[in-house]
């Protein structure tokens, strides 16, 4: 009987299992080649278990259980001299075997591949086998239970993922016993059996299996047969509605779930009216005077901005000095459980630019208040410019107009795609252009400027739920007029600053891709030449672009003089952003040249 059942299942699903095996083989090859760089060949086993094991469970249960019951062919089986218990047991064990076998083979392959390269003991192999085996058993038990739930299996999985997301808000991924069994440490734990996790997950698996068998055997199999029927229209509407309600409740609750305000006891506070800025200090030392001056100026910026824009609240703002940071780089810390704006900056560096830092901090506060809506591309030129203009407005820095003149006029399209334009201009020139644009808007609309800025960024703080994001605010300005006005201003400034602009060093940048190895890798050779032939100091900034990469990139940098080769070989087809940063004393900042995104071929 059992043999007949197994033969039937193999015959029915053989082609799919073979296709799955082929996929397993291809995946394993990729994982093994990657594992060489990961410190242990057994990382391939860990990744294979997590990816292919899980896929195998889903496929096996969908084919062996769901297909049988939704096709109502189990009714035919029930007429044969075989018990339901045996039918279910064969399906369970066969499914588990198809999931476990590839992982066992991979364990064997890893053990062979790792021989002589890393210490492999029977204990280590037993730990690996138990970890992956119990992980797969638990997941398989969940999949088997889901399969017995028939048309409600999607609801079951959705519930599991929702539960997981709720747990993960409190705990990290690695703190969930199921995933801890196959986390990054799996390949490197050679001595200790994670007995507690193994026990807990085995118990969970047993519970799931008991529930699945109960479903399959209750009411003489009638319950599982009924569950396997297709969802009625009413049920679909019900579950669709339920999903929508959960999303709405979640977003509303999330909005109302006020996180406590960030506080730092060891901080010196600079206050201005109702606003303060804290500068982090060590226990026995106050913040240096220069840092305090920056804090005071920023507190005044924020307090006046709060009144001008009618901001109803401001976040706690703290600055943490970090001497390891480049003086032109300011980093906003991510706060998981608290709310506020915490910036890191090299406050004590002689090259630290306090005004630039304040602009960045004001921009971050506006982003906090608008829940990042100030960063939307369509309005980002205005909101970033407003931050710069606000800091600059009392003591205008003439270099901003000079830099804007150096950058030149912008088109309407460049305004629309401001993040792309900003990437090309670099932070120094982009900020000057943004401030210039805002000044043009103010000049063209002197009476309504404050009202316009308040409508966009001020007043009531927007909600966090999805309803708020549906109603987007926009800047009500005539872009053509702004572009024309800015071009006029640039033309005038180019005449006014002609002498300073003439001092700019004219440079030519070059970035050549050269194929290395057997044609699979590409080296990037870079060079910068001045027209006068003087050696030029420069920094190449670059980042590889992932398919999902947005406009905000984390750039790597490589500084040199004259020419050089990037210390990295890129695979063919890599998408890359690159630019040359050159310090220009004439403009008083580092200017970006030759910014481009390209595919390396």
């Amino acid at each position: 009987m059992t043999r007949a059942l197994i033969r039937k299942e193999l015959r029915e699903h053989l082609w799919l299992f073979l296709a799955l095996m082929a996929l397993h083989a291809l995946t394993l090859m990729g994982l093994l080649s990657q594992a060489r760089d990961d410190g242990s060949v057994f990382t391939a086993l860990q990744q294979f278990t997590v990816s292919m094991g899980v896929l195998g469970v889903l496929v096996a249960n969908s084919r062996l259980v769901v297909r049988e019951y939704s096709g109502r062919t189990q009714l035919f089986l029930e007429t044969l001299p075989v018990t339901r218990l045996r039918i279910l047991t064969v399906k369970l064990l066969l499914g588990f075997a198809t999931v476990l076998l590839p992982v066992a083979i991979v364990l064997g392959i890893c053990a062979l591949a790792g021989q002589g390269r890393e210490p492999i003991t029977p204990r280590y192999l037993a730990i690996l086998a138990l970890r992956s085996g119990v992980f797969l058993l638990t997941f398989h038990a969940l999949g088997f239970l889901a399969g017995m739930l028939g048309r409600y299996r999607y609801v079951f999985w959705a519930g599991c993922f929702y539960l997981m997301s709720v747990v993960m808000k409190k705990e990290s991924f690695d703190n969930i016993p199921l995933f801890r069994l196959v986390d990054q440490r799996m390949a490197f734990e050679r001595n200790v059996f994670p007995l507690l996790d193994l026990g807990v997950m085995t118990a969970v698996a047993i519970l799931c299996l008991a529930a699945a068998f109960a479903l399959g055997l209750m009411q003489e199999g009638g319950l599982a047969a009924n569950l396997a029927r297709k969802m009625s229209h009413r049920e679909k509407v019900f579950f669709g509605g339920l999903l929508l309600i959960i999303i709405v409740i979640e977003s509303t609750v999330d909005e109302r779930r006020k996180r406590p305000r960030f506080d730092l006891a060891a901080a010196t506070r600079s206050t201005a009216g109702a606003t303060f800025v804290g500068i982090a200090t060590t226990d026995d030392e106050d913040a240096p005077e220069a840092a305090m001056a920056v804090g005071t100026a920023l507190a005044e910026d924020l307090e006046s901005l709060r009144i001008w824009l009618d901001l109803r609240e401001l976040p706690p703002v703290f600055v943490v000095p970090d001497s390891s940071l480049d003086p032109s780089q300011f980093v906003r810390a991510e706060l998981e459980d608290t709310d506020g704006v915490v910036m890191k900056a090299g406050l004590s560096d002689p090259a630290f630019d306090g005004r630039w830092f304040r602009t960045t901090a004001v921009d971050e506060v506006l982003a906090w208040y608008s829940r990042n809506r100030s960063r939307r591309e369509a309005v980002s030129w205005f909101t970033a410019g407003l931050s710069g203009w606000w800091v600059d407005r009392l003591e205008p820095d003439p270099r901003l107009r000079l830099r804007a003149a150096a950058a030149g006029p912008v088109t309407r399209e460049e305004l629309r795609d401001w993040l792309t334009t900003r990437e090309k201009l670099g932070p120094c020139l982009a900020q000057a252009v943004e401030v210039g644009l805002v000044e043009v808007v103010k000049e063209q609309n002197p009476d309504g400027f404050q009202a316009l800025a308040t409508r966009l960024l001020g007043g009531e703080r927007p909600g966090q739920d999805f309803r708020a994001s549906l109603f987007r605010k926009s800047v009500e300005v005539d872009l053509d007029q702004v572009v024309k006005g800015f071009a006029k201003r640039v033309a005038a400034d180019r005449l006014a600053f002609a002498e300073d602009l003439a001092k700019r060093q004219q440079v030519t940048t070059q970035l050549d891709a050269k194929v290395v190895g057997r044609g699979s890798g590409i080296e990037l050779h870079h060079a910068v030449q001045s027209d006068g032939g003087d050696p030029v100091d420069y920094t190449v900034r670059y980042a590889t672009l992932k398919p999902w990469a947005g406009e905000k990139l984390t750039l790597l940098s490589f500084s040199t003089q004259g020419s050089g080769v990037l210390p990295q070989v890129f695979p063919r087809g890599t998408r890359l952003f690159s630019s040359f940063d050159i310090d220009e004393p004439a403009l008083g900042c580092v200017v970006r040249h030759g910014a481009q995104r390209q595919e390396l071929q």
Partner: protein
């Protein structure tokens, strides 16, 4: 032929929620006979067959199979029973031969040449997938699968439901032929009276989970008449329903009806309709 009944059910009860599907059902099927189990849709026929197959369990009552009282229809017992269901839920991707090969794994007594002979006799294509077979051919395939392991008892649950009259007649002819050749007991449930009359030696009429009549068709019909005209019904006569009246066969012979009263004989359909629509019961002696 053994006198031990192939099936004996006594006081069988089974409830599904609020529905009392079987309400003290008792019946007896003799070995070697074709027993016609008649009843309307929902009368409890399929429930009875599923209890006999061990697919369902009874709430109370006794089941005897081949003279043995069984609490649970075990696998060895099930191997002695062939089953042809109303819906043929075969694996759609299997051909008749593949189905035979699969089913053979469950029956030590499986007779492959016999299976092929039956397929040929029933005109079932060997290499066509089950999903491509017509309803009639699927029923025939079910019959071949049920008979190939040489069962002692074959349960047929409305096997011809949904078939056209020609296919139904063919199926029934083949059933009678196979049963006669083998001496197998057949328990044949249906709500189509004609075909039961065509194949069955004895019938049981079930209504609302209770047995209304059980016996030979000729005996049943000899007790029933359709009475028309002005008359006063004597005590020993019972109105089953409307103008159908039941009494001992001998009484009908002896009775002198007044002028204008006609006592016409009835067929099985009239009898079934009368019993299936009423609670009045009077089993003939």
């Amino acid at each position: 032929m053994s006198t031990t009944p192939a099936i004996r059910l006594t006081g069988l009860r089974r409830r599904f929620g609020k529905l009392q599907a079987l309400d003290g059902l008792s019946l007896e099927v003799r070995q070697g006979e074709v027993y016609g189990f008649l009843g309307r849709n929902g009368a409890g026929k399929t429930t009875t067959l599923k209890l006999l197959m061990g697919i369902l369990h009874a709430d109370s009552g006794d089941i005897e199979l081949f003279g043995e009282r069984v609490k649970k229809v075990t696998v060895p017992l099930k191997r002695r029973i062939g089953y042809v269901s109303q819906e043929q839920n075969f694996y759609p991707w299997m051909t008749a031969l593949q189905l035979g090969k699969f089913v053979s794994g469950f029956y030590p007594t499986w007779d492959e040449p016999e299976f092929k002979r039956l397929l040929a006799l029933l005109d079932v294509p060997l290499e066509r997938r089950a999903s491509e077979l017509s309803g009639g051919t699927r029923s025939k395939l079910g019959l071949a699968l049920a008979f190939a392991p040489h069962p002692s008892l074959v349960l047929l649950d409305e096997p011809t439901a949904g078939l056209d009259p020609v296919a139904r007649a063919e199926f029934n002819e083949l059933l009678v032929r196979v049963v006669r050749e083998r001496g197998t007991t057949a328990f044949f449930s249906s709500h189509i009276v004609d075909e039961v009359q065509q194949v069955a030696h004895r019938v049981g009429i079930i209504q609302a989970g209770k047995m209304r009549f059980e016996g030979e068709i000729a005996l049943l019909l000899s007790t029933l008449r359709r009475l028309t005209g002005p008359f006063e019904l004597p005590q020993s006569f019972t109105v089953v329903r409307g103008d159908i009246v039941q009494a001992d066969a001998a009484l009908w012979e002896q009775m002198q009806w007044p002028a204008g009263v006609v006592a016409a004989t009835v067929d099985l359909e009239d009898a079934f309709l009368a019993f299936a629509r009423t609670d009045a019961v009077r089993l003939p002696a």
